[in-house]
Amino acid sequence: MSLELRGVHKDYGGVEVLHGVDLVGRPGEVLAVVGANGAGKSTLIKILAGAERMSAGEMWLDGKRIEPRSPHDAHAHGIRTVHQELSLVPELSVTENLLMGNFPRRAGLIDWAAAHRRAAALLTTIGFGAINPRTVAGRLSVARQQMVEIAKALVGDPRVLVLDEPSAVLAGSDLDSLFALVRRLTDRGVLVVYVSHRLAEVLDLATSIVVVKDGRVVGTTTPAETTEDELIRLMAGRRLAQIYPDRRGAPGAPRLTVTGLRRPNEFRDVSFTLHAGEVVGLFGLVGSGRSELARCVFGAVRAAAGEVRVAGGGGDFRSPAEAIAAGLALVTEDRKRTGLVLGLTVRDNIALTTLRRDTRGGLIDRSRQRGQVSTMVERLGIQPARCASMPVVQLSGGNQQKAVLAKWLLVEPRVLILDEPTRGVDMATRVEIYRIIDDLARSGLSVLLISSDLTEVLGASDRVLVMRQGRLTADLPADRSTEDEVLAYAIEERT
């Protein structure tokens, strides 16, 4: 059951983004595809999935040339794909999402009891038994939705399973379940094509690794033959001297003080302080309430109790507008839903926070706006460089993330809250983001860095707060704590 791509080209309206990609995967293998943002990984996967058609090239499965014209075609060939973007029907139950088009029937009618049983059995066999199949999918956390998405791909016993950044929204035990699942599948002879920016995980899981750069394969290797540094060098075309910046000096005066903050069912008794020039990490398992806490501090939702204060700038914000006026900025975790207006251009998105500031005599000063946006595009290295009047949807995932960051840096905040800012972002760009965070902190900004990536939290922060089931359980110095220590505070006590 080998899968082979030969000389695959893809162009979007004249702009070529894949320039002849060759790829071979064998049964029982985990074929990892790594590359910088915009390298063409998702495009490659869409071609495998039948969602996009190649402009030139061939695809072979088991020695037969195939040409999937639609995702359905690809399914028929045993190729199932979990895309980077979630695609469940939020109004429907997990069962229905899993079995869509394949319901057990009795007398022509759907047998719901049997359907729920089948869904529960499926979730249990693949190790996701914690998910209740009767739940409405839209009410699950993003992580759980991702797990349902994976379970769905497994319904038809695929021979090739393609996963585009499946781990980006998973952490802790969910991540372990995913790895266990991948191993079980390969034991059964399934070929798993795995795209990820988490190189440690790739080295741990993959049997072979393909590095893509600018739409070309620039290296094929195995975990045994390579290292993280080597992969980064291949992806970026240069060596990254240092991933995390040097430690900063002692922090300044208190800048943001949160006391006894509470929202029912989300978090309670949350108190902490951010100081000027300080980067504070906030770690926790998915669902621990970090995002809700951030939204609450930012005034996007109201607290039931507690207090938020910004030194010299009010507090207890009743709206994001008030929080922004006080010098806060929040880069949210879900860029499609809360970070971007997908139908607008990159420029309109980046300029959204500064509309009033850019207004002269009632009208928007377009040249000023253009200047600011292009400075940001340059500073953050958003690709392609002349993207300002492109619809933002046409950027690759990582570049979209950078556009969100650009929007918030333009407001020149005094307190920056980043919720999973490197999710789906390639290593070289991450390093840039860490450098930007460091620069900002050195210029006196306070940063709250929410992340599910332990290494990142410890590497980029001065202090680490840990959240568990809606409570802060630890406040640790980053340079003197280990990953195991932090994790211990994050994991639920079993009683």
């Binding site: 399914h75 695609s87 429907l92 869509m100 029937r105 009618l109 759907i110 009767r134 409405v136």
Partner: protein, 332 residues
């Protein structure tokens, strides 16, 4: 019973901290149904307490009869709304189906003439569906154009009312099944079968899923276009049936009938908790919405509220009802 109480999704606005609970059973939102049930009971109690006439057999029969047109249109509309679409053409289709049926009665057996009327509705629904699904045009505009064209065709067919001589033409519209009008029975059968269709058949589930996320449904190997066409065809069939029934009930078919009928049908769906964005709504709750509208009209009449004030109040009551729904429910 395996229901579960879940908290609401993140609130979209910065309102207070209270989060209403909602009861989701097998993916169905029982809170809406409960609220609607309460509303209907409340209206009935108010009606009984304030009007002697309300609980008379004649009035109850009226109520049952007067629900039929809105009811049939509302079921078809629900199916279309579930896909995320809308069908503005139903009022014109009612007129066309009625006038064609009445026109054919002189030459064809009555059941056949009626079948042609319904078939005309199916035909218009099919065209709407193909334009929406195959050519990917906005449902609002397609069915708005159909509203104009089909109305014109009804007048082209006959610009004067047609009153068939054969009294058998009235049977469908005036027969009773025990104490219940036959037309009401037909409407209830449509809702019953329609409810099973939506909740228990693959086609029905696909239509609902399409309203939630068409791309996902397509990826599941389901033919989205065909199901969208099916939805508009069902709406066309319901409108055709409603037109035939209305003509039989009035005894005269008029090409001018049915103006703005789509608005009541849409209102019934929304009062029943359907989301105009698609993917959410049930047959049962829509029937509840139809009942609420009929009760409002009936009560305003029984109280002798003058016509203009009826309009004023009707709009205000609709707002009040969906406001109450809103408080009881939650946006996903």
């Amino acid at each position: 019973m395996t229901g579960q109480l879940t908290s609401t999704g993140p609130e979209r606005t910065g309102g207070g901290g209270r989060r209403p609970l909602r009861l989701v059973l097998n993916g169905r939102d029982r809170t809406v149904e409960a609220a609607l049930g309460t509303l209907v009971v409340l209206l009935l109690v108010v009606a009984a307490a304030t009007s002697e006439t309300f609980f008379t057999p004649t009035n109850l029969t009226n109520l049952l009869k007067q629900m039929v047109t809105t009811g049939l249109l509302a079921f078809g509309m629900l199916v279309v709304i579930l896909t995320g679409g809308i069908d503005l053409s139903v009022g014109s289709v009612v007129a066309f189906a009625g006038i064609v049926t009445a026109g054919l009665v002189s030459g064809l057996p009555i059941p056949l003439a009626m079948a042609v009327g319904i078939a005309a509705g199916i035909g218009f629904g099919l065209v709407n569906g193909v334009l929406v699904a195959r050519f990917e045009l906005a449902p609002f505009v397609v069915t708005l154009a159909a509203l104009t064209t089909v109305r014109g065709l009804a007048f082209v067919y006959s610009d004067v009312p047609i009153a068939p001589d054969d009294p058998a033409f009235f049977t469908l519209g005036s027969a009773m099944v025990g104490p219940i009008p036959l037309t009401t029975v037909i409407m209830l059968v449509v809702f019953g079968a329609g409810g099973v269709f939506l909740s228990r058949t693959p086609a029905g589930r696909s239509i609902i899923a399409i309203g939630g996320n068409p791309e996902t449904v397509r990826l599941a190997g389901i033919n989205v276009r065909r199901h969208v066409v099916l939805a508009y065809t069902i709406s066309g069939a319901c409108a055709g049936l409603a037109g035939v029934i209305l003509a039989s009930r009035v005894g005269i078919a008029q090409p001018s009938v049915g103006v703005a009928f789509e608005l009541d049908a849409i209102a019934a769906c929304v009062i029943g908790g359907a989301s105009l964005a698609g993917g959410r709504g049930t047959a049962k709750a829509t029937l509840g919405g139809v009942l609420v509208l009929a009760l409002i009209n009936n009560l305003l009449n029984l109280y002798g509220v003058q016509s203009f004030w009826q309009q004023v109040l009707k709009g205000l009551i609709i707002i009040a009802v969906i406001l109450v729904q809103r408080v009881n429910r939650v946006r996903t």
